[in-house]
Structures are given as C-alpha cells and as structure tokens.
C-alpha cells in the first residue's frame, strides 16, 4: 500500500516536473490555452446560446457585427459564429481520431518490430518503408474519391495513411528501451513478452510518438481542408475545410465566409504544432537555448552581496608569478537566478610548473578553464577578476588582442576527445586549418609539415592525418588533441580531463607523455580533473575546488598527506596514499552543493562532519597554513581536522 502510494507520489512529482518545464515556454502556454478554449467550445457547443449552425436565418451575407450575428452569416444565411464553433467540433474530432488511429497502428507495429526483432522486424520494417514511399495524400485522395467522402472515412483514411512515421519512431524507441536495465530486470523477474511490452516498454517509449501525434493532429485538419478544396469534403458536417472552400466562391461578396474558419483553423493547427514543439523541447532539452534573462540583475551590485568589491588598481599591479588568476568571478544565469560557478578564485603558478585543479563534477573547475580561454556559454558572464600571463593582463583585453595570446601562449586540451574533434573532417585537416588560422601567411604545405612534426611528437603515425576521428582509438584521439594544443608551441596548457574515458593503461601512458613533453618544452600545465590520482602523479601543486570556490591550495605532497580542509581530506584521502597506508575508497556522502544566489556560511557545511554553528553562519576566511598552503576552513589549524572522517565515511 505504502509502496503504491509512494509510486503514485513519485508519478505525480514527475508529472509536475514535466508540466513545469513544458509550460515554461510562453508560446506553449498560449497554444494550450487556445486548444483548451476550442475544446471547451466544441464540447459545449450544443448548449451554448448560439443558433443552430444548419438553421437558415433571414439575411444572407450579413457582414460581421450584424446584431445577432457576431461573425456575420453565410450564403445560406446561417450564423457564422455558430458554424465556426461547430466546425471546431469536427476539426478536433478529425484531429484526435485521425492521429489516434495513426499512432495506435504505429505503436503496435513499431513496438512489435522493435521488440521481437529478427524476421518480424525485417518484414515489418520493409512494410513501413514501403508505405513511407507511397505518397500518403494521394492515397487518401484515391480512397476518399473512390468510396465517397464521409467524415468517418476521411478520418480513418488519414489515420491509415500516416501510420508509418509513428511506427518508425516507436520501433527505434523500443530498440533502445529493450536493452535498458529495468527492462532486463523485469525480464529476469519472469515478465512475459506482452507484459514487458505493455508495462515497461510502450509506456516509456511513447513520449516521442505523442509529440508526433500532436503534429499529426495539425496536419489531419489541413488534409481534411485540402480534400474539401478538391471537392472531397463531407457535405453533411460543418467542417472548417469545407467552410473555407465553400467561401472561396463567395470571396468577393462575403470574404468573412472563408476568413473566419481560416483563422480558426490556422490558430488550432499552429497551436497543435507549437505544442508539439513544446513537448519536443521537454524530451530533448538541448533544443531549448540558454540565455540570460534580461530581467536578471547584476549580482555584484546588490547591497548585501558576498563577492568582494572590485579591487582598485588591479590591472596595474605587476604580478610576480608567471601565471596568476585573481578574484575570477563567473556566474551562470539559470532561469531567474545566478549560479556562482566561479566565485572569487585566485591562483598562481611558476613557469614550467604544473597545477592540479581537482573537485567533483559541477564544482566550477571546468568553468575556470573556459573563462581563461574565452569560450563561455551564452548564459555565462564574467563579473570580476584579472588574469596575468607572463606579466600581461589577458582577461580584460578585447578579443582581438586576446587572439594573439590564444593558442600562441595558452592553449587547451578538452575533455572527451571523441566529441572535441569535428566528426566529419580528417584530423590532419583540422589541425592544419587551425595552424593557418593563426599563421595566415603559412602555406598549406607548411601547415602539413608542422602537423606531421607534431604527430611524430605525440606518437601518432603520420598516415593517420587522413583519418576521421571515429576511425581512431580513444588514446589516439587524445594524442591528436594534445598535438592540437602544442600546435603553436604555447607556454601554458590547460588540460581539462585529458584522460577521462580512456582505459587505465592508456591514461597512464598519456599522462606520462604529457609529462615528458612538459619537461621537454618547458610548458606550464593546469590539469583540471575530478580524479585525484591523476593530480597526485603529475602535479607540483594542487588546488581543491568546491562549489565555485578554491577551498585549499598547496603543494600536492602536502595536500595529499595532510590536507587542512575536511573536503580535501575526503577527496584526496580516499586515494591509495603515496607513502602512507591504504585507505578505503569511499566517496564523500551527500550531494555536491550548487551555490545559487546568496550563500551564507561555509559551502561545505551540509556534508562536513565537523560543521558547527559558526560554519553555518560565517563564511570561513582563507587561513594560511604555511607560506604556500592555505585552506578555507574555520578549523584549518585545529587538530580536529585530522579526525574529520575518522568515524568512517
């Protein structure tokens, strides 16, 4: 009982969540309202205080606005308002029944084909393909012409001629769902094929079919109108299509005869299509663009903000390090709020050194990299900060100026190399293009030579230049990315998860090579990763990031051995220590924190075993542990830190 209740609750919540994101869009909301109104009018038409749509009144061709005839009358002196409303009844019926028939057949055939596979799939897929080739409208035309245009036949015919598309969608849905774990689990638990289909596969595969159905509803109304225009509408019902085509012959005398039903039809068809779009957005969230809501205020201007005010004379300060980030602040707009992705981050590095930036995913480490190389998503904004490279400020310079720094002095290696390369161009060409972009005078040949050189450097056979990314192994692709980063011999490389998704052996190999290259070329390296072991192996210094802030920074050895922040100890301590005894590998319990809007107190409070009231109310300051080691914890200098995870994590 309880379980059922929970399930129900969960369903309800899921639906609410869906509904919220579905109705987030204004056009979708308007469309829903239109359909709701039309449906309401259509359903209640017999009880509305309007004349019988078939009844002949006194005056033919009364213009709109005539008393008693808001939308005028037609050539038979029938009330247009009433006819438009009753036409909605037919229109919606056509839409729903046709689309219903279409998707019912489509779901049935599609799921049979997808679920059973083998020869059943072969046969059904062929049938689907064949029917996709037959021009549906002409088939509908033929059938309706042959058997006489009754509205019932028209609906059935529209349904029967449009099923292949939902069938195809359903088939591919079932194919993906079939292999999902919960389906497999149900199968192991002894569910029969029909149970699997009915309870597990079809309900989960249906959403895209429903999206297709809304589009079908719109087109069913249009097809009915098209048939009517060709003289194949059912004359015994009041449909918009027939009203429009009847109105064509009275255009000069009574344009409203075709205009009003035309508008009604246009509105409803548009509404169906827009609802389809809305559903599509919910199912494929990418297609909704990110942008900054213009009503969102600059968070730094608010009176009781947390961010520090801009420091004076920042850009005139000459840094003493080779690379320095100070007070970098970058927020994302998320609906009506700012997410503090990078909050007052400051870091320093010497030439030829390496810095590891570790943290769980979503902590903002990648955002730092993106801010540095200036590829921010549309909803991100840098509010504050300075970046100095080799004594020069590079964050607050115009793009044109930055272009000289980009790749020449500072380049980047991206995570997930599979997608970081253009899938439809040979890898060599991609590198040559980049070379020519920055060396516009260089000939193609020079570019090729340079790339060949780099391929040698990163141990890829030169012949691979003509390969496409999908033809290379993961390690090879990552080497291409490294080659790309080295293209113009930069001083600083920001490597964002360069080894994620590779198998351990290759990971090590790549890291090792990267290390060699770094030595050889006197590179500075910022290594962004969630994997502490990577940092441990290859970085001089480590910065630990949590919820947009650096919480601790210092020499890698020190941080791994004696981190002075509970988070660091949780994150790094979980590693097989370099020197000490092995700890168990357990992640820190709780979910990572997303700093939205104003944040009070330490951001780690919720997950910290040492949290106190102080932590909850007061933002911990940067506490210097030694000269080159600091931590953002009230208790950084206390012994208690060491016992942070003693109770087991």
């Amino acid at each position: 009982m309880q379980k059922l209740h929970n399930e129900w609750k969960e369903r309800q919540q899921r639906f609410q969540k869906f509904w919220r994101s579905f109705t987030h869009d204004r056009t979708t909301r308007i469309s829903l309202v239109i359909i709701a109104i039309v449906t309401l009018l259509a359903v209640t038409a017999p009880w509305l205080p309007i004349p019988d749509p078939m009844a002949f009144t006194q005056n033919q061709y009364s213009p709109p606005g005539t008393p008693g005839h808001l939308l005028g009358t037609d050539n038979f002196a029938r009330d247009m308002l009433s006819r438009v409303i009753w036409g909605g009844r037919v229109g919606l019926t056509v839409a729903v029944v046709s689309a219903g028939i279409s998707i019912t057949i489509g779901i049935l055939i599609g799921s049979l084909a997808g679920f059973f596979g083998g020869w059943i799939d072969d046969v059904l897929s062929r049938v689907i393909d064949i029917f996709l080739m037959i021009p549906a409208f002409f088939l509908a035309l033929l059938i309706v012409a042959l058997f006489g245009p009754s509205i019932l036949l028209i609906m059935v015919v529209i349904g029967v001629t449009t099923w292949p598309r939902p069938a195809r969608i359903m088939r591919s849905q079932v194919l993906t769902l079939k292999s999902r774990t919960y389906v497999q689990a149900a199968r192991t638990a002894g569910a029969s094929s029909s149970q699997l289909l009915a309870f597990h596969i079809i309900p989960n595969g249906i959403p895209p079919v429903i999206t297709n159905a809304t589009l079908l509803m719109g087109s069913a109304i249009i097809v009915e109108a098209g048939l009517s225009f060709l003289g194949l509408g059912d004359p015994s019902v009041v449909s918009w299509g027939r009203m429009i085509s009847a109105g064509q012959s009275h255009l000069r005398l009574a344009p409203w005869m075709s205009i009003f039903p035309g508008i009604a039809m246009l509105l409803v068809v548009c509404a169906f299509n827009l609802i389809g779009d809305g559903l599509n957005y919910v199912i494929n969230p990418h297609s909704r663009e990110r942008k900054i809501d213009p009503g969102l205020e600059n968070p730094l201007i608010k009176p009781n903000q947390i961010a520090k005010p801009n420091k004076e004379n920042d850009s005139t300060q000459t840094p003493n390090s080779f690379f320095e980030i100070s007070d970098l602040t970058m927020y994302y707009a998320l609906q009506r709020n700012w997410v503090r992705a990078v909050d007052n981050v400051s870091l320093k590095m010497q030439k030829g050194s390496s810095l590891g930036l570790v943290g769980e995913s979503g902590c903002g480490k990648t955002s730092i990299g993106l801010s540095l190389i200036r590829v921010l998503p549309a909803n991100a904004r840098i509010f504050d900060g300075n970046v100095f490279l080799d004594g020069k400020e590079i964050l607050n310079v115009p793009d044109r100026e930055f272009q000289r720094v980009r790749w020449n002095q500072m380049s980047m290696i991206f995570q997930s190399a599979m997608n970081a390369l253009n899938p439809v161009a040979p890898v060599g060409k991609q590198l040559i293009d980049a070379y020519q972009l920055h060396r516009p005078r260089a000939s193609k040949k020079e570019g090729r030579l340079r790339v060949e050189e780099l391929f040698d450097l990163v141990n890829i056979p030169q012949s691979r230049m003509r390969s496409y990314p999908h033809e290379l192994s993961g390690g090879m692709r990552q080497r291409v990315m490294i080659a790309l980063a080295l293209l113009l011999e930069p001083d600083l490389i920001i490597a964002d998860e360069p080894t994620t998704a590779l198998d351990v052996l290759i990971q090590d190999q790549i890291l090792y090579e990267l290390d060699l290259l770094k030595e050889k070329m006197n590179l500075s390296l910022v290594l962004i990763t969630h994997d502490a072991s990577v940092v441990a192996e290859s970085c001089d210094r480590t910065a630990v990031m949590y919820a947009g802030q650096i919480v601790e920074e210092g020499p890698s050895m020190v941080l791994f051995e004696d981190g002075r922040h509970p988070y660091t100890r949780g994150l790094l301590g979980s590693l097989p220590s370099l020197t000490g005894p092995k700890h168990e590998l357990v992640t820190i319990p709780g979910e990572s924190f997303t700093p939205v809007g104003e944040v009070l107190g330490c951001r780690f409070t919720a997950r910290c075993p040492l949290a106190t009231d102080l932590c909850r109310h007061v933002d911990p300051p940067e506490i210097m542990v030694t000269d080159d080691h600091w931590s953002r914890c009230h208790y950084a200098l206390e012994d208690i830190i060491e016992s942070a995870w003693a109770g087991g994590r």
Binding site: Q248, L370, M412, F414
Partner: protein
C-alpha cells in the same frame, strides 16, 4: 564495387514498393463503387454500348486476370494505356511531369535555400525576440492551407497589383523558344512557387535553426572557438556543414510533401502538372493512369531518399554503405 552493389540492392528494394502500389490500387479500385465503363459510355447509354465498352477495355475480365495482365505489362516497362485518352500512360505522364518537376524542384530548391539561410541566421540570434517571432511565423507558414494561400496570392498580386499572370504556365500564343520563353515560364512560375515554397521554407528554417543550434552545442565547436575561429567562421565553415546532415535527410520526406502541395497548387494555378493528372485520373477512374502515376511518384520518392542517403554518406564519413 561495394557501391554498385549497394545501388543495385537499393534499386531492387523498389520492386516490392511497386508491387504493393499496384495491388493496393487494384484492390481499392475494384472494391469501390463507381465504374469507368459508365463514365466512358456517355449520356444514357444503351446496355449494348456499356457492354461493348467493358469488352473493349478489358473491364469485363475477372480481377485477378486484369491484375495479372497489368503486372505482365509493368514487368515489360509498359504502364498500359489510359482508358480515357487512349494513349500510353508513360506518354501522358511524360507530358505532365515536366511541369511538376519544374514547380516542385524550383520551390524545393528555393524553399530549402532560403529556409536554411534564414534558419542559420536565426540560430545565431537564438532566444532573441526576432528568433522567437520568426519561429512562430514559421509554424504559421506551414499551418496555412496551400490552396487558400494560393488564392490569396492571386487576388493580391495578380488581380490587385497585376504583377503576375493569374494562372497557367505560359502565355498562350506567346513566345515559343529561347530566352523569351524561359522568361515567360519564369513569370508564370513565381506565384505557384511562392505558394508551394512557403511551407518548405518554414520547415527548413526550423530544421536548420535547430540543427545548427544542436551542432553549436557540440563539443568540437567549443574546440574551434577555443582555437580562435570567429563566430562567423565556426557557423559558416563548420556548423553548417555538420548541420547539413539532418537537413539533407529531410529532402526525401519533403519531396512527398511537395508533391502533395503540388496537386492543390496545380489546381489553383491551372498548372498542367502531374498532381492534377492524378486527380483527374481518380475522378475518371482511369485505373492505368492512377496506377502509373502512383508508381512513378513512389519511384520518385524512393529515388529522392536514395539520393538523400548518397549525399548523406558523402557528407558524413561515419556512414558506410
């Protein structure tokens, strides 16, 4: 070698389509009420007249025999003879196909070009007011009934402004050859093409916009930006090419839609095309013409989808035959 085997296989796959089209039409045409013989016999015919007509046109044979005869002919590449026009169906379709191809290809070409262009422009301004209003306008564009749009365009541009001819494909007794003829046809072509391309422009606009946006969200775009390619270069040189994949794959589908629009557009503009021919054939129960046209149209759609797949394969190295 692999390619030609692929081609042959694809073309062989057409056979079942043709078979289904033929059988489907045969069954439908024979199940339905309405008899071509009655139509051919004219006003108040004597029974003898009817009988003679049935015999002459082979309409008195049992269904399976008619089907068998027809299949035999199709196998020899002969689509039979129109009951009404007493000419070969291939000839009749040939007379009309040119007009439809001109109309369909021009509007598909212009519609897709314009749609892709506008869609790409809009994707660069995603989320802006103009983007949202254009997207909604595009939905309106393909929600308008084609025939209604055609008539409105005629009323406005041809009757009111008198910029274009009201209907037809060329000026009768006008120029026959050369550039003047081309111009004449072009002048007649504008409104029908405009009518037909509104829907495909709208669809391509939306498709181009979403696919470009989708590509712009992909990781390699970030790489390109990071390397320093300008927005324009990223959009034009890279994103568009990758976005072309879904756009191309819509081409086959679009042909079917354009053919549908063609019958309505041809009716409105008195355009001597295939769509109209099918409609008249259906109204006349001219079985050979109906089947011939269905076969040709299905082949056209199939070829378009083949072409689509070939172009797709050329654009995307990941696709193998």
């Amino acid at each position: 070698m692999r390619f030609s085997r692929y081609l042959i296989r694809r073309i062989l796959q057409l056979l079942p389509v043709i078979l289904v089209v033929i059988v489907l039409n045969f069954v439908l045409l024979h199940l339905a009420p309405g008899d071509a013989a009655l139509r051919l016999a004219g006003e108040d015919p004597n029974p003898a007249v009817l009988e003679a007509i049935r015999e002459r046109y082979g309409l008195d044979l049992p269904l399976h025999q008619q089907l068998w005869i027809y299949l035999g002919r199709v196998a020899r590449g002969d689509l039979g003879e129109s009951l009404m026009a007493r000419r070969s169906v291939i000839g009749i379709i040939g007379d009309r196909a040119g007009a439809t191809i001109l109309l369909a290809v021009t509007s598909l070409f212009l519609g897709s070009t314009l749609g892709i262009f506008l869609g790409t422009l809009l994707s660069a301004r995603a989320g802006s007011r103009i983007d949202i209003s254009s997207s909604v306008t595009a939905v309106v564009g393909y929600s308008i009934p084609v025939f209604w749009l055609g008539i409105m365009l005629i009323l406005f541009f041809s009757i009111r402004l008198q910029w274009f001819p009201v209907s037809g494909m060329f000026t009768i007794l006008g120029p026959r050859t050369g550039i003047p003829r081309l111009l004449d046809v072009g002048h007649h072509l504008i409104l029908p093409v405009l009518t037909l391309m509104v829907a495909s422009t709208a669809q391509y606009l939306r498709l181009a916009r979403t696919s470009v946006l989708q590509v712009l969200n992909e990781d390699f775009i970030m790489t390109l930006k990071a390397v320093g390619f300008s927005r324009r270069a990223v959009l034009v040189k890279y994103a568009l090419r990758n976005a072309a994949l879904p756009i191309v794959s819509m081409l086959g589908l679009q042909l079917g839609i354009v053919l549908t629009g063609a019958v309505l557009t041809e009716t409105v503009f008195s355009w001597p095309g295939l769509g109209r021919l099918v409609y008249e054939g259906i109204m006349n129960r001219d079985t050979p013409v109906i089947m011939g046209a269905f076969i040709i149209m299905s082949i056209a759609v199939a070829l378009a989808s083949l072409l689509t797949d070939l172009v797709y394969a050329a654009l995307d190295p990941r696709v193998k035959y």
